[in-house]
C-alpha cells in the first residue's frame, strides 16, 4: 500500500526518469545525443529561473551571466590553472551564488522590479568583461581544449556516458525543485508572490527568501554552464548575451511559470524548435520566440502545461460540458 502511494505521487517523475535515462539505449546517434545534452543544460537553467520567476515572482534579465560564470569558471580553472574539473565546477557555483547574493540583497529589499534592472546591468557588464579581459578569457577567440569530465576510470567524453551523467544531475535538480515547491520554503515563496504583505505578517522574511531563491537559481545556471563547456570543450562570449537571457526567460514562460514541469516542456520545445526552424530560415527564430512570448502571456499565461485548463475553460465558455466545471482541473501541481 505504501509502495502504491509512493508510486502514485512520483509517477510523473519516475516515468520521466525512465524515458530519459533509457534514451541512449535506443540511439547512439551523436547528433540526437548532443541535442539531448544541450536540452539537459537548458533544463538545469530553466529549473532555477522557474523557481525565481514562478515562485518568487521576480524576473532576472541577466541569467546568461550566471551561466557564463560557470562556463568560464570551469574553462579558466581547468585549462589555465590545471584544476580538477569537479572542484572548478564547485568553485564556480559558489562564486555565482556569492555574486547573486551581492546583487540580490540590496535590490530585493526594494519593492518592485529592481532585480530585473540590476541583473540586466550585471549581465551586460559580464559580457563586456568576457570580451575585454583578454589576458584571462582570450577575448572573442574564446577558450578551447577544455578537458572532458571523468570519475575514476569513467570518461564522460563519451556521449552516452555524458548523457547519463548530465541527465542524472538534471533529475537531481528536478527532484530538488519539486521538493522545494512542496516544502515550507515553497509555500512561503508562493505566499509572498501572491500577497507579500500577508506573507510578511505571517512571519515570512520575504526579502531573505527571495535572495535565497536567486542564489539557488544562480547555482543551477552556473552548474549548467560548467557541464556545457566540458561537453563542447570550447567557450566564447557570444553565448552569454542579453538575447540568451531573454531566450531563457522565454523557455520558462512558454513551459509554464511556477510549474516545475513547465520548465521541462519549455526546455524541450525551446531546444527542438530552433533545430526545426534552422532548416528553413534561422533568421526567423528570434522573431518566433518574441511573438510566442507575447502570445503565451496573453492567451496562455500558465504556459504549455496549462493547456488542458485552457481547453476545459473554453469548452465551458462555449456552453458545452458544464459538468466538467465542478471538477475543474486546477493548475497542474508538480509532484
Amino acid at each position: 500500500m505504501a509502495a502504491l502511494v509512493f508510486l502514485r505521487r512520483h509517477l510523473a517523475f519516475l516515468a520521466f526518469s525512465v524515458v530519459i535515462l533509457s534514451a541512449p539505449l535506443f540511439t547512439g546517434n551523436i547528433y540526437y545525443l548532443s541535442i539531448l545534452a544541450f536540452m539537459a543544460t537548458r533544463l538545469m537553467i530553466a529549473l532555477g529561473l522557474n523557481l525565481l520567476m514562478g515562485q518568487a515572482g521576480q524576473i532576472s534579465l541577466g541569467h546568461a551571466a550566471f551561466v557564463g560564470i560557470g562556463a568560464y569558471g570551469s574553462a579558466i580553472m581547468t585549462t589555465r590553472w590545471n584544476m580538477d574539473p569537479w572542484l572548478a565546477m564547485l568553485f564556480s557555483a559558489v562564486f555565482a551564488a556569492a555574486v547573486a547574493g551581492l546583487i540580490g540583497v540590496p535590490t530585493l529589499k526594494l519593492k518592485g522590479h529592481y532585480l530585473a534592472m540590476a541583473t540586466l546591468g550585471f549581465g551586460e557588464i559580464v559580457h563586456i568583461l568576457l570580451v575585454q579581459f583578454k589576458w584571462l578569457t582570450n577575448g572573442t577567440d574564446g577558450i578551447g581544449g577544455i578537458p572532458s569530465l571523468a570519475i575514476g576510470g569513467i570518461d564522460f567524453g563519451d556521449p552516452q556516458m555524458f548523457h547519463w551523467l548530465v541527465w542524472g544531475v538534471v533529475l537531481l535538480m528536478l527532484r530538488i525543485s519539486l521538493n522545494l515547491v512542496d516544502s515550507r520554503v515553497g509555500r512561503s515563496l508562493r505566499a509572498l508572490h501572491r500577497a507579500e504583505v500577508a506573507a510578511m505578517s505571517l512571519g515570512v522574511n520575504t526579502s531573505f527568501r527571495k535572495v535565497q531563491v536567486l542564489m539557488v537559481s544562480a547555482v543551477f545556471a552556473s552548474i549548467a554552464g560548467s557541464f556545457f563547456v566540458h561537453y563542447v570543450q570550447y567557450v566564447s562570449p557570444v553565448s552569454f548575451t542579453l538575447t540568451f537571457s531573454v531566450i531563457l526567460v522565454t523557455t520558462v514562460v512558454i513551459g509554464g511559470l511556477g510549474n516545475v514541469w513547465g520548465a521541462v516542456w519549455g526546455s524541450v520545445l525551446m531546444v527542438l524548435l530552433p533545430e526545426y526552424l534552422k532548416r528553413y530560415n534561422q533568421d526567423y527564430t528570434l522573431l518566433v520566440f518574441g511573438v510566442m512570448l507575447i502570445v503565451i502571456m496573453i492567451f496562455l499565461p500558465g504556459g504549455l502545461v496549462s493547456f488542458k485548463t485552457l481547453v476545459a475553460k473554453t469548452r465551458e465558455r462555449l456552453g458545452g460540458a458544464r459538468t466538467a466545471s465542478a471538477a475543474g482541473p486546477g493548475p497542474a501541481r508538480g509532484s
Binding site: I59, A118, I125
Partner: protein, 296 residues
C-alpha cells in the same frame, strides 16, 4: 587632457547623451502611467531611425521623413499598447514586463528582416561642415540634436503643466484611483502615454542616425542606456531623465578619454551599467528622487 580635448569629449557626449535623454524620457512616460518598465523602448528609437531612412530613400524630404517616421512609430506604440499591454491589465506588472521583453525581441528581428544587417545612414539635416569652437569642432547635426531635444523637453513640460490633458496624465500618475473618480479616462491616458513615449524616442532615433547610422540591433544598447539614465536621474522624474541622459553621455565619453590604457573604448558601454548598478545599490531613488521607492 587639454581643455580643447575636454570640450571635444563634452560635445560628443552631449550628442549621444541627448538621445539617451529622449529614450529615458520615453521610459518615464510609460512608467508613470502604468508602472511598467518598457524593455522595448530602445526598439522605438531604432524604428524611428530606420523608418526615416526608408521614407527619405522613397523621395520624402528630410523634414517630412522626420515627421512621418515619428508618426509611424507613435502608431506602433499605440498598437502595441492595445494589442499586448492592455489585455494584461489585470495580470500584473511582471506579465506586462515580460510582454515588453517579447516585443523588443520581435521588433528587433522584424527590423532585421525588413532593413537587413547593414547600418544605414541619413544625410545631416543641414550640411556637414564642422564649426570651430576654440580648437574643438562641433557638427551642425549636434546643434540640431541639442536644439530639438530642448524643444521636445520644453513642449512636454508645457503640455504637462498648462493643458488639461497634460494635467490629467499627471493626475493618473499620482493617484490612479482618485483620477478616475474625477472622470479621467485612465485607459486613454495610458494610450496617449504610449504614443507620446514612442514618438519622443523615435524622434531621438531620427536625429542620431546622421551621426552614428542606424542598424536593426542598435535599439538594444540605446534602450538599456536610456534606462540606466532614467534610473540615474530618478525613475519617474522627467527632468531627472533628461539630466541623467546628458550626464551619462558625457561621463561615457570622458571615461574613455580619461582612461590611460589602450583599448579603453571597449569598456565604454560598461560605464552606463556600472552607474546603473551603483545607483540601484546606493541610492535607488536616483539623484533627484523618482516616484517613491518602497522598502519591502
Amino acid at each position: 587632457m587639454t581643455f580643447d580635448q575636454f570640450l571635444q569629449y563634452v560635445f560628443s557626449g552631449v550628442t549621444t547623451g541627448s538621445i539617451y535623454a529622449l529614450t529615458a524620457l520615453g521610459f518615464t512616460l510609460i512608467y508613470n502611467a502604468t508602472n511598467v518598465i518598457n524593455f522595448a523602448q530602445g526598439e522605438f528609437v531604432m524604428l524611428g531611425g530606420l523608418t526615416a531612412v526608408s521614407l527619405h530613400e522613397a523621395g520624402a524630404p528630410l523634414a517630412l521623413a522626420f515627421v512621418g517616421a515619428v508618426a509611424i512609430v507613435a502608431t506602433v506604440g499605440v498598437v502595441f499598447q492595445l494589442l499586448a499591454i492592455r489585455p494584461l491589465h489585470s495580470a500584473g506588472i511582471l506579465a506586462q514586463i515580460i510582454v515588453t521583453v517579447g516585443a523588443s525581441l520581435a521588433l528587433r528581428t522584424g527590423a532585421m528582416l525588413i532593413w537587413g544587417r547593414e547600418a544605414l545612414p541619413l544625410p545631416p539635416f543641414t550640411g556637414d561642415e564642422p564649426i570651430k569652437v576654440s580648437e574643438a569642432t562641433i557638427l551642425p547635426q549636434t546643434l540640431w540634436v541639442l536644439g530639438l531635444t530642448l524643444v521636445i523637453v520644453v513642449t512636454l513640460q508645457l503640455f504637462y503643466r498648462r493643458t488639461l490633458t497634460g494635467k490629467a496624465v499627471r493626475a493618473c500618475s499620482v493617484n490612479q484611483g482618485a483620477a478616475r473618480l474625477m472622470g479621467i479616462s485612465y485607459s486613454k491616458v495610458v494610450l496617449l502615454s504610449f504614443g507620446m513615449s514612442a514618438a519622443i524616442s523615435a524622434a531621438g532615433g531620427v536625429m542620431i542616425t546622421p551621426v552614428s547610422f542606424m542598424v536593426y540591433s542598435s535599439g538594444a544598447l540605446i534602450g538599456l542606456k536610456g534606462f540606466a539614465a532614467a534610473i540615474f536621474g530618478g525613475l519617474g522624474n522627467p527632468a531627472g531623465a533628461v539630466f541623467g541622459g546628458l550626464a551619462l553621455g558625457i561621463l561615457e565619453t570622458l571615461a574613455i578619454g580619461a582612461l590611460p590604457m589602450s583599448g579603453a573604448s571597449g569598456y565604454k558601454d560598461a560605464v552606463a551599467f556600472l552607474i546603473l548598478l551603483i545607483v540601484l545599490f546606493v541610492k535607488p531613488q536616483g539623484l533627484f528622487g523618482g516616484r517613491s521607492v518602497e522598502k519591502a
